[in-house]
């Protein structure tokens, strides 16, 4: 009897571990609303899992505006890990569920009280309290293990500062570069051990090195506060202007002042010809009407059902670019619009994402403005300098702006593209 009880207990324990699933959002659970946040989902010894994260940004006036994100995690023996980024709006409710074979195996939710749009300061240190004192106010300090630092640019979107004081093993250079290129100020706090030499080499001899939209800062406990005072806000400033810069200008349809005289003349001719010539007159005026509509077709319908405008904005420095592509779409028929890649709407609308695709369902003639997930690219250069670009007035003096075919490249002041 005792053996049977132990066997049942062991089976129960094994079954509990078999159902182990975990969703980690943000940096150590710290999320920044209005930014792309890292997401990590782990499951162990589970079947195929469908992970769904739903953020509702609606209100009483507009009703529900859900943003539904879905991933399929292949199952199998051992640990399955999914890493991605998710854009979290200012949500009313945020919930997630993991289901396998139509059965929910795990779920959870976040209360709107946890909503916070203050950026993060990630500290990689054996004693995070020391470096935390150097940071300006207005950020949330998150001590973070070096092994978990993401190497994807978009995952660093919510981070304003990354501080490395050399008291841990050195992080991967790719993670540091990704953080800097995303727009964070990465502070290498000297003195650093010899194992940090490759990272220190990235900074060179200069206290400030620009990479993408961010900076690599080299300082001591005494000089660091001075370096961190001037906030490097290129990524945010450019992102806020994306909707303004990417203007959709669809072709104008035929003006009523031009249409009405022709339509009126057709109506008059119909009545007169029919009265005068009977059936042949009716046939003649009908043919005339058809020819008129066909001839005016390009003016009546000046473009395809979906008009779109695309603009890529890059913040480039040190040979790297933080690239965000804005799209403005006008679907005159309504329905489902699928965009390749991960996108977010600039104004709250319902949408859904799957890996590689984002789908929106705008109504007829509803302008949809989106921004893609930030990506790391190599700075290509070769664009035409545009010192009088409207964006120049919004950015610090010395910023270099170049433009090309649907591309705007911003080089921060003092940086080399």
């Amino acid at each position: 009897m005792r053996q049977l009880f132990l066997a049942v207990l062991l089976a129960a324990c094994l079954s509990a571990s078999a159902q182990e699933t975990e969703l980690l959002l943000g940096f150590d659970g710290e999320l920044v609303a209005g930014r792309w946040n890292p997401l990590e989902f782990r499951s162990r010894d589970a079947g195929d899992i469908t992970l769904t994260v739903t953020a509702d940004q609606g209100d009483l006036r507009r009703g529900q505006l859900p943003a539904r994100h879905t991933w399929h995690v292949p199952g199998g023996a051992g640990l399955s890990v999914l890493e991605d980024e998710i854009f979290l709006p200012h949500w009313q409710s945020l919930s997630w569920s993991a289901s396998s074979d139509g059965r929910v195996v795990a779920s959870g939710s976040l209360h709107p009280r946890e909503l916070d749009d203050r950026p993060l300061a990630v500290i990689v240190s054996a004693a995070a309290a020391g470096p935390a004192r150097l940071l300006p106010s207005g950020v949330r300090v998150v001590p973070y293990p070096v092994a978990s630092l993401p190497e994807r640019l978009a995952a660093w979107d919510p981070v304003r500062y990354l501080v490395l004081d050399g008291t841990t093993a050195p992080p991967a250079a790719a993670a540091v570069i990704a953080a800097a290129a995303a727009g964070a100020d990465v502070l290498l706090l000297e003195p650093l051990p010899a194992s940090y030499a490759p990272l220190r080499a990235l900074a060179g001899d200069s206290a400030v090195s620009h990479y993408g939209a961010g900076r690599l800062l080299l300082g001591t406990a005494e000089t660091a506060p001075g370096l961190l005072v001037s906030t490097n806000g290129y990524a945010a400033a450019v992102g806020e202007q994306l909707g303004t810069l990417n203007v959709l200008e669809p072709a104008r349809p035929l003006r009523l002042g031009l249409l009405l005289p022709f339509a009126g003349a057709y109506a008059l001719l119909s009545v007169v010809l029919l009265r005068v010539a009977g059936v042949p007159g009716a046939a003649a005026v009908l043919c005339l009407g058809i020819v008129g509509v066909l001839a005016a077709g390009p003016q009546l319908r000046p473009g395809p059902a979906v008009s779109s405008s695309r603009l890529e904005v890059r913040v480039s420095a040190g040979g790297l670019s933080r690239s965000v592509t804005g799209s403005a779409l006008l679907d005159r028929q309504g329905g489902t619009l699928e965009l390749p890649g991960a996108h977010r709407p600039l104004k709250p609308v319902p949408y859904a994402t799957r890996p590689g695709t984002t789908s929106f369902t705008p109504g007829r003639w509803q302008l949809l403005e989106t921004a893609s997930r930030p990506e790391l690219r190599e700075a290509t250069g070769g664009l035409t300098p545009a010192p009088d670009h409207p964006l120049a007035a919004l950015l610090p003096p010395g910023t270099v702006i170049s433009t090309g075919d649907s591309i705007i490249e911003v080089t921060p002041a003092g940086a080399v593209p």
Binding site: A251, R252, P253, A267, S270, G278, V293, G335, R364, W365
Partner: protein, 200 residues
């Protein structure tokens, strides 16, 4: 007098000219009020024109049916043809609205539906009025029966197969086919009666 000449004379009549003028004027007014020249604003002229065309043609069909139900099959055929011609003459204006409104539907089936629906309703109302005799006025409410029946059937099946007012976007092939068959049935019956020596 041949059928052709009779139709020709019918189309040149004062009453028909007035009907056509009123119909085209209403279409022009609808086009004027629902047209948008702003490329970022919805142009809904097609929806307004479609509603107007089906509604106005249905009213004309019922009115003409009450006017001609005592006449022979020749007159009924000519009236049906004239009604169809009114619908066709308004089609270019409808096509202009269609081009500018970008509806998710097809133009030609919609024009066929407009025309066939009016012709079928004319045939049905004429038949009911003729059958009702002195209570012919009952044909007016009875004209709503095929429309209501098509709506009920569509509701029951959950599809848009018969109802002639699918103003939302979507295909109208099946309603167009159904109402064309309905209209042609009346036209065939009258043509047969005419051939058998009925009055013109």
């Amino acid at each position: 007098m041949s059928g052709w000449h009779s139709l020709d004379r019918h189309l040149r009549s004062e009453g028909f000219s007035q009907l056509l003028s009123a119909f085209l004027l209403l279409s022009l007014l609808t086009l004027t009020f629902s047209w948008s020249g702003n490329p970022l604003e919805a142009n809904n002229s097609w929806y307004g024109l479609t509603a107007l065309r089906r509604g106005a043609l249905a009213l004309m069909a019922v009115g003409l049916a009450l006017h001609t139900f005592r006449a022979g099959p020749g007159v009924r055929l000519r009236t049906m043809a004239a009604l169809s011609l009114i619908s066709l003459l308004g089609a270019p204006l409808s096509a202009a609205g269609f081009a500018a409104s970008y509806p998710a539907t097809s133009l030609i089936p919609n024009i066929v539906l407009d025309t066939a629906f009016a012709a079928a309703l004319y045939g049905f109302t004429t038949m009911v009025a003729a059958a009702a005799g002195r209570a012919f006025f009952l044909a007016v409410p009875a004209a709503t029966l095929p429309i209501a029946a098509s709506l009920l059937l569509d509701e029951a099946t959950g599809n848009n197969l018969l109802f002639p007012f699918p103003l939302a976007d979507g295909p109208v092939f099946l309603p167009a086919l159904f109402w064309t068959a309905f209209a042609l049935a009346f036209a065939a019956a009258w043509a047969l009666a005419l051939r058998r020596g009925g009055e013109r």
